[in-house]
């Protein structure tokens, strides 16, 4: 066991932090803000990262990556998430849509789809959840019927982030064999979002406008060469993909950054002298360390070529609740002023805490609810019997 980053990774962290400080505009408040500058900025930011070989950092060189280690990639994830993810939607390409294509895609699919991702030129969204298929994802009803040119897709996807960014492509989960049992008969399609028959309806949220979308597919024709992996074997792909996604977001790094800001606020305001404040923030710092180490355990396994399903869920169980807890502790510390949003000049910490709080309301729901994560650990990690 070794608990520190090597010197080269630490230098990379310093360089990256300096780059982020110099590049992020003062108005940057992350995604899902009512600010038309946000998405164009993330595209520009990704091109800048790509120019430095920092975008597809850990991808193999043959797919346009820099071939860096999983730990260098971890540094990148931490610094990006701590800065409210200035890569915008494109972190998904790097963390799991790209790796899924590398693992399951044909040579033709890889050479077609991976280079634009590596150059930061393309936005993907994922079509998983449906109005009636959330935690019970395998009950999804979107159909992909065979067609002489491939498939015809009909159905509705929901909670689709970035579909209106607009997304260029969608990683879509659809039932291609209605006769098969639940987990069989599901296929993954790569869908061009400009295809006729796709309608995107933005859904406003507590965090602001247009975080999510409902996407309707009405007779959408998907060419046969846009099927990823084997027909009917999509569930296996998605399980691997969700594991990559759960490892991929360094939520603990954002929690640690907000906590640093709370410490600074407590010091400046004199509240840091209150034992209850010291105890509360110290307790959260301990949880940050726990969440960080559990993420590192999952990365350690991934670095050895293992898909760390149970470990990724464990890390996520810690990190998602931590993000919520830190933001709530922040609201408690700031008191009523903490409710003020960033546009209000009286907002402490420029409204960061309430923004973090609201954004993290769905954190324990996204990418598999907390309860689903616990079910994964219960069955696959502990071998407990299936629920009725």
């Amino acid at each position: 066991m070794d608990f520190h980053f090597d010197a080269a990774d630490e230098r990379f962290r310093d360089e990256l932090r300096a780059f982020v400080d110099a590049t992020l505009p003062g108005w940057w408040r992350g995604m899902f803000v009512d600010d038309p500058r946000a998405i164009p900025f993330t595209r520009e930011f990704c091109r800048e990262l790509a120019a430095r070989d920092w975008l597809a950092l850990a991808w193999p060189p043959e797919h346009g990556g820099a071939g860096a280690s999983a730990w260098t990639q971890t540094v990148l994830r931490e610094e990006m998430w701590a800065a409210e993810e200035p890569r915008g939607p494109q972190y998904m390409n790097l963390n799991y849509i790209g790796p899924l294509l590398m693992r399951y895609g044909s040579d033709e699919q890889r050479s077609r789809f991976l280079p634009p991702m590596a150059r930061g030129e393309v936005i993907w969204c994922q079509g998983f959840s449906e109005p009636d298929a959330g935690s019970d994802l395998a009950s999804l009803r979107t159909r992909a019927r065979p067609h002489d040119r491939g498939f015809v897709v009909d159905g509705t996807k929901i909670w689709t982030s970035y579909a209106d960014s607009p997304a260029d492509w969608c990683l879509l989960l659809a039932r291609s064999d209605p006769g098969a049992t639940r987990h069989e008969g599901i296929s993954v399609l790569l869908v061009d979002m400009t295809t006729t028959g796709i309608t995107v309806r933005p859904i406003d949220t507590m965090a602001g406008p247009h975080e999510f979308n409902e996407v309707t597919f009405d007779g959408v024709v998907v060419p046969g060469d846009c099927l990823l992996g084997q027909p009917g074997r999509g569930w296996e792909l998605v399980s691997a993909g969700l594991t990559f996604e759960r490892v991929g977001i360094a939520r603990y790094a954002r929690a640690a950054r907000v906590l640093e800001h709370l410490v600074a606020y407590a010091n400046e305001s004199g509240r840091s002298r209150e034992p209850i404040v010291r105890a509360r923030l110290a307790g959260l710092r301990a949880r940050c360390e726990a969440a960080r180490l559990l993420a590192y355990r999952a990365v350690s396994l991934q670095a050895r070529g293992i898909v760390p399903t149970v470990e990724a869920s464990t890390a996520r169980i810690h990190a998602t609740q931590l993000e919520q807890e830190v933001s709530h502790a922040g609201l408690e510390l700031l008191g009523p002023l903490g409710l003020l949003r960033s546009a209000d000049p009286a907002a402490p910490l420029a409204g960061e805490v309430q923004r973090h709080f609201v954004r993290n309301i769905p954190t324990t729901v996204a990418a598999g609810t907390l309860e689903i994560q616990k079910n994964i650990v219960a069955r696959r990690g502990l071998g407990l019997p299936r629920e009725p």
Partner: protein, 370 residues
């Protein structure tokens, strides 16, 4: 960065796991606990023969020259027993402090016997009325010590006694017949003693004589931190055993026509144990690693581990008993062998507000007036 065990650590853990299941099954744990001393000389010799008494001691004194992280790896496996033994406390409360701070003469005198298991060591810290303010510990004259200490583990069988005073640690040798001890009546576990020092001949630990009033408590803290980290690793092993029992019970016990583990309310308690145990394990390893690799920068890692563990060990205890229902409270079942220990370790080593305060300081919280 790599959180997987090295080959050597994996071999150590596997050897220890095999030893525990072969040499110290639960029936023997019960026998040893019933014996009063909690010390089984046969078991002790077997562990000493494996080199575990000197695992982290320098090779020149007969040790294996490994680090505190390796001791933590061993401790976790012993905790799965739970093996009742002075081995870990002898290592961290006496042998390591002598190795770290002792004069060359003191090292030569004590370490070979501690490394080989011919001698057992411990350390006396608490005094009546003392909570967590180590700096209040009084030294009553030198080179002779008078005073009353509480909660000293293994004091009846120890050959070497370290004594925490306001000017640092002092060594008292058993040969001098210099302490009297009386067993406490404590819930849960390790034999703990009230120790009386009456004009005991002692020498300050270290080549430079008594430390000053500032350094004194610091050296004591360092010893207690290392001890707490290793004991946390032991608690992780005990908690892992609790989880095994809980999962087995939840899989076998049927109510409402199905195993209770099929109910999410029960299953998720087991998962909460799993995720807390995993966190405690890596926090303990991280802190132990800091002693080996960043010895001047251990505060945050130690404080984070123990601050987290203080809450987590209690949660694990509660979940384990809740999943077991009434049967867990019965001493005919095995659960209590582990959960009593968890509470002891939580309260002795983790709940201290000192750890929270250390963490608050390490993360930059000031106490300045604004």
């Amino acid at each position: 960065m790599d959180l997987t065990r090295t080959d050597e650590q994996a071999i150590l853990a596997d050897t220890a796991a095999a030893f525990v299941s072969r040499e110290c099954p639960l029936a023997r744990v019960r026998t040893i606990e019933a014996s009063g001393d909690w010390h089984d000389p046969t078991l002790w010799t077997a562990m000493a023969d494996l080199g575990w008494c000197g695992l982290a001691l320098p090779t020149e004194y007969g040790g294996a020259g490994q680090g505190l992280l390796d001791v933590a790896v061993l401790a976790e496996q012993l905790g799965r027993g739970p093996v009742p033994s002075p081995l870990l406390e002898s290592t961290t409360l006496a042998a390591l402090p002598i190795a770290w701070m002792g004069s060359p003469a003191q090292r030569r005198r004590f370490l070979p016997a501690l490394a080989s298991g011919r001698a057992i060591g411990t350390c006396a810290v608490f005094e009546p009325g003392m909570s967590d303010a180590w700096s209040d510990v009084a030294r009553r004259g030198a080179p002779r010590l008078d005073g009353h200490k509480l909660l000293v583990p293994w004091a009846n069988i120890a050959d070497v006694l370290l004594v925490a005073t306001a000017t640092g640690l002092w060594v008292v040798d058993r040969d001098n017949r210099s302490w009297a001890c009386e067993r406490h009546d404590a819930f849960a576990g390790t034999p703990l003693f009230a120790v009386t020092l009456d004009d005991a001949q002692a020498e300050p630990l270290g080549p430079f004589g008594p430390a000053d009033d500032v350094a004194g408590p610091e050296t004591t803290r360092r010893v207690l931190d290392a001890t707490a980290v290793v004991q946390l690793a032991y608690a992780v092993g005990a908690a892992e055993a609790c989880l095994d029992l809980a999962v087995r019970h939840a899989s076998e016990r049927e109510q409402f026509g199905r195993p209770i583990g099929a109910f999410q309310a029960v299953a998720h308690r087991c998962v909460d144990m799993r995720t807390d145990i995993d966190a405690c394990r890596y926090l303990a390893y991280r802190a132990a690693w800091a002693f080996d690799c960043e010895p001047h920068d251990t505060t945050l890692a130690v404080a984070a581990a123990l601050t987290y563990a203080a809450d987590a060990l209690r949660r694990i205890f509660v979940h384990a008993h809740q999943v077991h229902g009434a049967s867990g409270f019965s001493t005919e079942q095995d659960l209590h062998l582990f959960t009593r220990r968890l509470t002891e370790l939580e309260i002795r080593f983790a709940t201290s507000p000192r750890h929270q305060e250390q963490l608050a300081r390490a993360m930059g919280m000031t106490t300045d007036t604004a």
